[in-house]
Amino acid sequence: MGTGDDPVVVRHRELERYATVALKAGRIMMESGASVSVVHRGITMIARGFGVETIGLRSGYTSIAMTVHAADQTITRMLQVGRLGVNHRLDLAVRELCARAEKGGMTVEAIESELARLVRETPRHSPWFTAIAVGLACTSFGRLLGIDWLAFGPVWIAGAIGQYIRHHLLHRGVNIFIVAGAIAFLSATLGGLGAMAVQSGTVQLAMMASILLLVPGVPSTNAQTDIMDGYPTMGSARAVWVLMIMLFAATGIWFAEELLGMRG
């Protein structure tokens, strides 16, 4: 009898397929901005739908691992996780799929193809619409911080241009920290020049408001959520990532302030 017919090997292969598809769902949720506890629950729900028991789960910043058990067989598998972002609609759609899978009756192939369909077809706002919205968010933040009305338009435009270029740079695979520094420099310079051109009295605030698109709000709250949920390693990793982004952003704005003669 070859190993291909060995019932233990066959069972292992089955378990591997269950683990892999559950981990794929978890990876999408994690890359879409879900906290670790939500990711773990989603993975467990899919495994339960196949009638297997989840013995253990571990999430790092770049990987998820799970151990599953059924009929005296146990396997552990790990999957790489890509860049963590925020995609609310995709996250919700995968959560809904997890809830459906938990009820049972879905095959591995059905879940795999549904996951692929969700990744492919979940709508995203167009880059130009997102840029305009993010520019509006920056200038609104600016008003909350105290920029005057003269700086309102320049900050909107600077934030929108920054977001549009950030989208394209990230799409081309440029390092996220380099992008943060470059966009901070660009947006702060544009916001500062615009505010100077309209003789705003709040040029420095306008420069700061122009880079607020870079502030990682969701990762910073997820860091805290993860720590509160009992995942301090992941929470700490997220916090360090947030700090690094802000360091690069601050470097960008520092150079912009030097360029425009705003420092000392």
Binding site: P123, S140, F141, L144, L205, T221, M228, A250
Partner: protein
């Protein structure tokens, strides 16, 4: 009381706009964006009200996050598992990104060969970073407590 109203409405309006703008970046659907805007307006109204009552920024942020989280939890029948995300989007305008930036710029300034008023710069930067940590903690706790106690469904 009425003198305060324009400022109150101003903060609510721009809190709503900031939350909705970031909602687009986070890929909320068009039907969910008004909820993000409403959550942002509510959060900023509560925080502004708290600050008018001479609460600290951190205390007012905590109250705003609690109220926003409770409000979206009350609407969980309509919002479903998205309710926690809507509350978070509403609180995004309270993330102290500008304080964070100013703190880091202050620390950068200390690295100059002969910084002028080094102690003042250090105290100011340290104050900013402490406010960032406490404000983020207040916001995170304010969002998490009602969601945990009311057992909002994530799925």
């Amino acid at each position: 009381m009425w003198d305060f109203l324009p400022h109150f409405l101003h903060q609510a309006l721009f809190g709503a706009a900031a939350a909705a703008g970031f909602g687009v970046l986070f890929n909320f659907g068009l039907r969910a964006l008004p909820w993000c805007a409403a959550a942002g307006a509510l959060a900023l109204m509560v925080r502004t009200g708290g600050q008018e009552l001479a609460w600290s920024l951190e205390g007012a942020t905590f109250a705003a996050a609690i109220v926003t989280s409770c409000a979206v939890s009350a609407l969980r029948g309509q919002l479903g598992p998205a309710c926690n995300a809507v509350a978070l989007a509403g609180c995004i305008p309270m993330v102290p990104g500008a304080f964070f930036g100013q703190a880091l710029l202050g620390f950068f300034a200390l690295t100059a060969p002969h910084p002028v008023d080094a102690v003042e710069i250090f105290v100011s930067a340290a104050e900013h970073i402490i406010r960032v940590i406490f404000t983020l903690a207040a916001m995170g706790a304010g969002l998490a407590i009602p969601a945990q106690l009311l057992k909002n469904q994530d799925f």
